[in-house]
Amino acid sequence: MKLSPTGARFALAAIAAPLAVWGWAEATATIKFTEMAAKAGIQTNHHTRVFPGKAADVLRMFTSGGSSGAAGDYDGDGLDDLFVTDSDNGKPNHLFHNNGDMTFTEVTDKAGVAKGNDPKSIVADALWFDYDNDGKEDLLVARFGTPILYHNEGGGKFKDVSAGSGFTRFGNTIAAVSFDYDNDGLTDVMFGNYFKPLNLIELPDPHVLPNDLDNAINGGGVTLWHNDGKGKFTDVTDKAGFGKLTGWTLDLGHGDFDNDGDQDIYIACDYGTDRIFFNNGNGTFTDTTEKSIGFDTRKGMNAEVTDYDNDGYLDIYVTNITDEYMKECNMLWHNNHDGTFTDISKETNTCATLWGWAAKFGDFDNDGWPDLYVVNGLRSAGKENYIPVLLNNLLLKPGMDFTDVRNWPDIGGMTWSGYQKKKMFHNLAGQTFKEISGEAGTDNEMDGRGLSVADFNHDGKLDIFQVNADQKAIFYKGVTEGGGNWAQFKLTGTKSNRDAIGARITVKAAGLTQMREVDGGNGYAGQSSKTVHIGIGKATKFDSVEIRWPSGLVEKINGAAIGKINKITEGKGLQTK
């Protein structure tokens, strides 16, 4: 390993860390989860879209990413509920009300949010956000098609307001995040689009697949939509600086990467380079990919953001494909504090997670250091392996046009990167990670896609909802014993967007400073809770708590409680403990 400046920093930090976190290390417990999806009533079964015609098999495989889950408190009872997508024609999506006792009740029909999978559209992602700041979480359903925007009418009912929303542009959307890019107090929306905007079901042109499997430039890019208020959104993609992107976007991760008070964006792309854009603070962004991270040829699947090493700067975790036949390695982009990042996935043991999909940070043992759960697996089926078939019948055949869906060999009952064990990484004081999925009880072999992390029963232990492609969902209840103390923070914006997306909370306790941001849907095909969960080890009080709101207001919070949810309203401080 070459010892880069960052590597050298890590070497020094590794020596210092045991001293700095000595008190915290005592709080280390064995991270444990127990699976209870069926018992909880949320063992949904996902179905990928079945396509008509000769290209059905290949298209089904290429669109198998539409299994997603979103955690959000739609009824304002303080508990995160779950919206779960399906993808096949006519299959309903699901809304589950959280009963607070680790059981859920399906309320889809009453809420009126089942639809989305019609003969021309495929549901692929979902997002809770309060676009009109009325205090009720609205629902956005992203599709290979046009999105559906549901307004939360209250009383557990939703109204489809798509027609008047401005979301009329067709896209093969696989990812959606909401954040207030211009800090005007309204959350905006960015869509990540996989294929170029062409209806795959009607397939007017069979040349829809990547034109290069390492440097493709015929994907769907992204679109950015400005929230104008009054339920209207305007396409500002070109104006903001994203109009030239043609990558195969699979995920989006936002955050204030340079600590300047506005939200920047990381765009993870399949079949080619990821992109990072910094917010200029004037409604436009600058593509700093070459300087910040360099161009890559990997298969970016996920963009998750947190300050994993508690150095006050947000870092980014991207999954790629690292399997027997492809050695890409994931990327843990350590923030160098100067607009550049260094990939330290190898140094931190987070490089190889097979065919990666979603990855989510969460402090699963409440020791103050965000751990990491990564799902993987493309297609678990029969004994025959698709890779040699693909190699010999497409990749190594001279003159084959990869873009033509008709040239791809049928997969039939074959397996492709299937039966892969999930990876749980325990964060060792921000220096490295230890893979513990076996002992944690999370080493399932499903074809994972999306993750939602939340404390669904308010016991101070984060739980994980995992959705899978063409398979049943998994629900892991956090049951770690002997973990550290914790606190949660539910922020409500007043001048800022009401969801407080982009708000930054910085806490100090027992000598450790932690910074977290409220995110609007980072990570592939899954939205985690907007309630910020912070583990604090053995500490029994906060030395300080500070909120930096998107409006720019910096607010010191006194009296934040340990072991409880602290509700904080912008400009008004702590409301309840």
């Binding site: 290069d212 499997l213 390492d214 440097n215 080619g272 360099g294 040829t297 990997r298 298969k299 494909i321 027997e324 036949y325 492809m326 050695k327 890409e328 390695c329 392996n385 890779i387 040699p388 190699l391 990749l395 190594l396």
Partner: protein, 267 residues
């Protein structure tokens, strides 16, 4: 001698030297080589490339000219582009040799260098492109063997097969080539470069899950080359530790040092 890594390419060229493939070609191009080396030393890669392209036009089967030319291309790219170089830069080498072998269809060593052009690009390329490049390299190595089944070409192709994951079932092809090269070297006096074949052939057996045969080959190698660190490293390891070691040695993302200069300095 520039020993950045103990890599197969250098050693396989030693074989070429000693099997009389190269030496006759040296004399005709000494002036060009000297001029190119001076340019390389001055990091004037453009001049080196131009000189060597011209020299290769006159002496296409000269493996040394081809090797130096590829090094000039590589060094220029790495000097101006971080990491492993800009993939596009290597296309000049590929394009040049494509035309060269078209005009000289019996130039076995030109085909070998043509294959190496693709190998040189692999570390700079994406994971799928790596597969395509590796496959094309095999095609060129095969043509080199068809023209003249030399130790070096057999060793090169055999060793190349070992870089392919087991799932593609190429280990057997690699072992077959390496066994042919092994038979060739058995008929020669022991040379330093022979240890490379013991390593690779043992690795091939290991990839076929024939651990005993692999260890026997490595043991035979170390009996002749007791100072070989790579042979010792294999014999000192077992099970997962050995797998990790060999997997690391055959990692397609690590640049294979195809600088063949060693053979002209090795005695």
């Amino acid at each position: 001698m520039r020993m950045r890594n103990l890599t197969p390419a250098k050693w396989l060229l030693s074989g070429a030297l000693l099997t009389g493939l190269i030496v006759p070609a040296f004399a005709a191009s000494e002036a060009e080589i000297a001029k190119a080396e001076a340019a390389m030393a001055a990091k004037d890669y453009n001049t080196a490339i131009t000189v060597l392209e011209a020299a290769l036009q006159n002496d296409p089967d000269n493996i040394r000219l081809g090797s130096d030319y590829r090094q000039a291309i590589l060094r220029k790219s790495v000097a101006t582009y971080k990491k492993e170089g800009n993939p596009v830069d290597f296309d000049r080498c590929i394009s040049f040799f494509e035309k060269l072998v078209a005009g000289h269809p019996n130039a076995s060593m030109a085909y070998l260098n043509y294959g190496f052009c693709h190998v040189d690009k692999i570390a700079a390329a994406g994971s799928i492109t790596q597969v395509l490049l590796a496959n094309t390299a095999l095609t060129q190595f095969t043509k080199s063997i068809e023209i003249k089944p030399s130790w070096i070409a057999l060793y090169t192709r055999g060793n190349s097969y070992l870089y392919w994951p087991v799932i593609f079932g190429k280990a057997g092809l690699g072992v077959a080539d390496l066994e042919r090269a092994y038979a060739m070297q058995k008929s020669e006096p022991t040379r330093a470069y022979h240890q490379r074949l013991y390593i690779s052939l043992g690795d091939g057996y290991w990839k076929q899950d024939n651990i005993e045969k692999a260890r026997a080959m490595w043991k035979e190698g170390i009996s002749k080359f007791p100072d070989s660190k790579q042979l010792k490293a294999r014999l000192d390891r077992k099970d997962d530790d050995l797998k990790s070691y060999i997997d690391d040695q055959l990692d397609p993302n690590k640049r294979v040092d195809t600088d063949l200069h060693e053979i002209w300095e090795a005695k």
